[in-house]
């Protein structure tokens, strides 16, 4: 599974993506975020206030409690500033 990072999150991690294989107990996107944070101090620190981030699953924004359910790509999205 691919995990994408954008904007200042991408800069802080010094990379735009990770290729990961989470264990079976990682069921939802929220689980995935917790699992990623437990493995990566920089990510853990950058997401200290998780409420500001949105998540996408296969290029659609979805709630944090959405099941991974075979997702190919998950993105962690800092607050957006388009428009």
């Amino acid at each position: 599974m691919k995990v994408l990072y954008f904007a200042w999150l991408r800069e802080r991690l010094n990379r735009a993506s990770d290729e990961v294989a989470p264990p079976a107990e990682v069921q939802t996107l929220a689980d995935l975020v917790s699992w990623l944070r437990s493995r990566d101090e920089a990510l853990d620190y950058a997401m200290a206030d998780p409420s500001i981030f949105k998540l996408s699953r296969d290029a659609r924004i979805v709630p944090w409690d959405t099941p991974l359910d075979g997702a190919q790509t998950v993105a962690i999205l800092p607050p957006m500033t388009g428009g």
Binding site: L4, F6, W8, A59, I61, A75, T81, G82
Partner: protein, 148 residues
């Protein structure tokens, strides 16, 4: 019409084309976002990062929602990414409707959601470096008025 693009576009020509694409409409509203440089806080450029596939999907869904919610005849969103200099057009929202109320409300709705839910991130390039633009709390407020 949804277009997420690194290329510049002619906002006036787009508006004319959009207006001409439908008969039996009475009202068109356009919103154009421009790169701004203030005399007391000048920027050299605005750099827009984008998750293109997600942007296309979310803007398309947002467009459908606005059309059905406000009874629009049509709606269009064009959004650039990449490096833009002051005066350039960042993005444009257009609505066509039988009457002005729907056209205005549809355009405002699209803008309010786009500000918080479209995966673009702005960085301001100044003489001393680059800085990420922070979300304005007022953008969250603007969006919340459409809920419920």
């Amino acid at each position: 019409m949804i277009r997420v693009t690194a290329d510049g576009f002619d906002a006036g020509a787009e508006a004319n084309r959009f207006a001409a694409s439908h008969t039996d409409v009475g009202a068109m509203v356009t919103f154009t976002g421009l790169v701004r440089s203030l005399p007391n806080d000048p920027i050299l450029a605005l750099i827009l990062e984008c998750y293109e596939e997600l942007a296309t999907n979310e803007l398309a869904a947002l467009r459908e929602q606005a059309i059905s919610r406000f009874g629009l005849t049509d709606a269009a969103i064009i959004h650039r990414h990449g490096r833009l200099v002051p005066g350039e057009t960042i993005m444009m929202v257009m609505t066509l409707a039988p009457h002005r109320k729907a056209a205005f409300e549809g355009a405002q709705f699209l803008m309010d959601y786009l500000k918080t839910d479209a995966p673009f991130w702005k960085q301001e390039e100044t003489a001393t470096g680059a800085r990420w633009v922070v979300t304005m709390p007022k953008d969250k407020d603007a969006r919340s008025r459409w809920i419920g």
